[in-house]
Structures are given as structure tokens and as C-alpha cells.
Symmetry: none
DNA sequence: AACTACACGTGAGGC
DNA sequence: TGCCTCACGTGTAGT
């Protein structure tokens, strides 16, 4: 029974040794040596016999529990010290004070940086007044710029080879989304041409080799459906 | 007797839990102006008869000093709790733990915000402007198929108009990634052509209108750097 | 009644 | 020498 306590004590002090390497060096160093001699209280050399077993047991439980509590608190304090740079002193109180100051400093920094960021952002969209093409806001802008189909024509150039001509309005990421659409369709694309000579429209021309059981109308429906699905990604259950 | 003092000291931390009768404002006050404390009155309740002034005096000094130390530490801890939002529990250990988590959260926020800021700044005034967040919302597998450049040639076709000829190996999502690269570069693309006539290679041809202060070599470096960055999205914007 | 969390006084060591 | 900081064991509330 006391062996368990002793084991706990040993582990505790070993961990204190580890901590003591980190900081709190002199105090805990001498302290450790001091208590290495002092701690074997429950061992045999102490002449106190177990007269009242119940109370001493509960007392030792309490002692070791309190010891663990102190250890946990010190560990947390050291961890706090670890995430705070520029710690002046190793005091417990100084560690907490430095942490407070650092958090307030981070608060100020965050505020000023965010002010600067929104100022930059607002300044950015000022000179180029591209109203139909709004700039992307902060990360994870939920807005989606859908592909707006202006024309979609398919025509055979020979057997099983289709020329797809797609005209759509030019918005942000339209080219990327268009590529995603056509890659998702797993088509046999011979050539693809994307032209942006006009600043408002976007022309996409593809030569596509059809499979055995496909035809032109089927392909057109698939393209339209894929574009709709990419425009509305909420309906995720689609398989092609 | 000592019971009064003891009750005050006990109500100190308990007041955090329950109701602030004695605590909040006074604690903050004692935090700002350090130890012009309220409680330490060693004279009145010191009921022990001081006949031997030397030892008992020093002992009481020590006691009240230690009391002030503990009070200061608790005040600091309380102040730390005050600057940390979303404190779950009122434990001492939990307060420190929440503070640690909050500081790490602020670290992450600061890092991402600063990255965003320098990205915005670089987009604004640097010739190299990368859009690090293209619409990569695909639920596809996390494997990345890098763009493998086989050839990259640039040639002037007239003043400030460059023909970019890029040959790369054809892997999954290469077309999409290529489009992302060129969209991120915010170039003035006149036409773009992607051809996949061969099943192994992929030819990309672009006509690009250069800006005033750009030249061909600069553009080539930008393209190569952008492709490298898109191939290795781990190292964000710092290694260019 | 067992367990947690705390404040207290005390002794020890460093400046 | 005093002053400072610390860990310890203990008693005591609340759960």
C-alpha cells in the first residue's frame, strides 16, 4: 500500500526533475535534493507504527492527491510559460503577468491588423471598379459565381466526333469551373480551346470523341446537367 | 480570533464561484495597484500573546507576507481569466489551460491573418501576385498530382505580346490545375488553348499581353514559380 | 463517504 | 541579516 504511494512520489519527483531542467532551476534543484532525503516518511525507518490505519490511509491519499494537484498546476504553468515569448522572470506571478500582457498585446495586434486588412481590402476594389466581378472577400467566401451559359451548340464533324461550342459570361473562376465540369464528365477530349478575346464573354470550343453508345443529344444534356450541378453544389448526390 | 481572517481568505476564491460580495472590483483594484491590500491586519486579530517579540514577530511577518503573495498570485490568475474569453471552468488549472489554448488560437489566427495580409499586399504592388486559394472545394482524394513541366518556351509575337508554349505530362486534374495557375497569375490572357491530342502529353498555348513593366523572362519565372507553388501548397507564400 | 479544489501556516533555500 | 519564492502537509468547505 505504501509502496504505491512511494511509487507515486518517485514519479512525481522524477517529473519534477524534468521540469526543473526546464526552468525553476536553482530553487527546485536544491529543493529536490532536500526532499529526497525527507520524503521517505511512510517507509520503515520511521518509527511510527500503524496504529490508526484508516486515518493514515486517507491522509496519505489526500496527500498524494494534493501533490498531484500541485504538479498539474505547475505543469500548466510551465506550458503557459512555453507559449508566451519573452518571459522576464521565472516567478509564478510574473509568468501569469507576462501571459496577461502578451494576450493583451495580441489583442491589440489583431485589432490593428484586421483594421489594416479591411482598409487594404476596401482600397483594393476602389481603383478598379469592376462591379460585375466583385473581388473575393476573406477566406471561405461562400459566394459562388455560377457559370452562365449564353450558348451551347453541338455538331458532328465526323462519326463519333463532336464539336462543342460553348459561350458563357466571364466571371471569376469561370475557366477553372469549366475545366472541372469537363473533367468530371470523363469525356474523351481531343482538343479544348478557351478564348477570352472579349472582356465580357468567354468562348470554349472542344473536340470530343464519343463513346460507342453515346450520341450528341445525350452529351449536351450531360454537359448542361453537370454545369447546373456545379452551379449548385448543395445537391451533392450526383454520379456520372 | 483567527476565524474572521480565515473566513475572509476562504471567501476570496469562493466568491469567484458564487457571488461577488468582496471580490470583483476590489480584486481588480488590488491587481492594478498591487498590494495596498485590504485584508492583512496582523495586529487586530493576532490573539497570541506577544511576550517573545523576536520570533513571533518575524513569524507573523512571514505569515502576512506569504498571505500577500498568495493573494497576488490569485489576483494575477483572476486577471488572466478576465482576458481569456470562453472560460469553461473556474479551476485554477483550467484557467491556465484555457489561457494556453487561447494563446495558441491567437497564434494561429495571427499567422493566417498575416499570411493573408502579405498576400494581399503582394497582390497589390508586387508583380508576382498569386491567388493561394483557388476554388478547391472538390471532395476528391487528397492525393496531389503535380504538374510536370516538359517544355516551357516563350517568344515575342509583337511588342508586349508573348506566345507561351507549355508542354507537360497529362495526369489527373492537370488541366484544372493549369487553369488555376494561370488564373492566379492575373495575366492578360488573349487566348488559351489546351490540346490533348496525344494521350500522354498535354499542350498548352497562350497569347498573353504583357503589362508596361513586364518582360518575357520575368513572365517565365513567374509561371515556373507559380507551378512550383501549386505543386507544393504546403509552403505558402514565403518561399518565392 | 469518497473526491475535488482551495487557503492556510510552516520550513527551507536563494539573494 | 531580512526579504522573497517555493512546496509541503493539513483542515475545510462543496459536490
Amino acid at each position: 500500500m505504501e509502496n504505491i504511494d512511494e511509487m507515486n512520489q518517485k514519479n512525481y519527483w522524477d517529473s519534477i526533475h524534468q521540469i526543473e531542467d526546464y526552468s525553476w532551476n536553482e530553487l527546485q534543484g536544491s529543493f529536490t535534493s532536500y526532499y529526497d532525503s525527507s520524503s521517505p516518511d511512510p517507509d520503515g525507518n520511521q518509527s511510527s507504527p500503524e496504529l490508526d490505519g484508516t486515518q493514515s490511509a486517507s491522509a496519505s491519499k489526500n496527500i498524494v492527491s494534493e501533490r498531484n494537484r500541485r504538479k498539474k498546476l505547475n505543469d500548466r504553468l510551465f506550458a503557459l510559460r512555453a507559449v508566451v515569448p519573452n518571459i522576464s522572470k521565472m516567478d509564478k506571478a510574473s509568468i501569469i503577468k507576462d501571459a496577461i500582457d502578451y494576450i493583451q498585446l495580441l489583442h491589440d495586434q489583431e485589432r490593428s491588423i484586421q483594421a489594416e486588412l479591411i482598409e487594404l481590402e476596401s482600397r483594393k476594389l476602389e481603383p478598379m471598379n469592376l462591379d460585375p466581378c466583385p473581388t473575393r472577400m476573406n477566406r471561405s467566401d461562400p459566394r459562388v459565381y455560377p457559370i452562365e451559359i449564353l450558348e451551347l451548340n453541338l455538331s458532328y464533324v465526323e462519326d463519333k466526333t463532336v464539336l462543342v461550342s460553348l459561350k458563357c459570361s466571364k466571371k471569376r473562376d469561370t475557366i477553372v469551373r469549366l475545366c472541372e465540369v469537363f473533367e468530371s464528365l470523363k469525356l474523351n477530349i481531343v482538343t479544348a480551346n478557351i478564348s477570352s478575346s472579349s472582356s465580357e464573354k468567354l468562348f470554349n470550343t472542344l473536340f470530343i470523341q464519343l463513346g460507342e453508345e453515346e450520341d450528341m443529344d445525350n452529351l449536351k444534356t450531360k454537359i448542361e446537367t453537370a454545369i447546373k450541378l456545379f452551379n449548385h453544389p448543395d445537391q451533392t448526390a450526383f454520379t456520372m
